[in-house]
């Protein structure tokens, strides 16, 4: 568990379970967030910048799930919080998973016309 300034605790990659990850990705809201983060190519993003149609307490819940599933790293900076995908670490442990899921989720978004 890292304890950096403002960094919320996250599990080590070795402790992350595939079942937990798949559960986390099963929710449409969370999957949308992950896909969005991947499109941003590793960039950090404000949690408030995601257009999720849910109450803020529910959003907090989803961020925790994503964090505890090992998918994201979350930073607490003053008045806002920011997230970043744990892209490289995650890919090392679950090779191809993010790409496949994102590929499927994105399929149909960019119609070949």
């Amino acid at each position: 568990m890292s304890s950096m300034p403002g960094e919320l605790p996250i599990p080590e990659m070795a402790d992350v379970d595939l079942g937990t990850v798949l559960s986390a990705l099963a929710d449409p809201h969370r999957r949308a967030v992950v896909v969005d983060l991947m499109a941003g190519d590793g960039a950090e993003r404000a949690c408030s910048s995601f257009p999720l149609p849910i109450a803020k307490s529910t959003r907090t819940h989803h961020w925790r799930v994503l964090r505890e599933a090992g998918l994201v790293r979350q930073r607490d900076a003053g008045n806002g919080t920011f997230v970043r995908l744990r892209r490289d670490e995650f890919d090392a442990k679950f090779p191809g998973l993010l790409d496949v899921v994102a590929g499927i989720s994105t399929a149909g978004s960019a119609p070949a016309r």
Copy 2:
């Protein structure tokens, strides 16, 4: 929904949802079954041939979940039931998903010595 003799009803691939699939694969028992079926390379298998340490009514439940998630086709043959992975159909709709999940699940099972 197909209605073949002995064939239990399954959803059309077009109606299968990624979230439902990921939920189905999140359970260790069901994931183990899927991985096992993949190792069998498309072969049909008796439902009773899986060494699941759970009650038979629970097994029935898991088969239904896998069926309704579009992962397997189930056949009712007299005194037993048989399952087959919907490999090709599934791969067409969710390219790479089965391979990636199976790859991850299997990782570490066959140590490179």
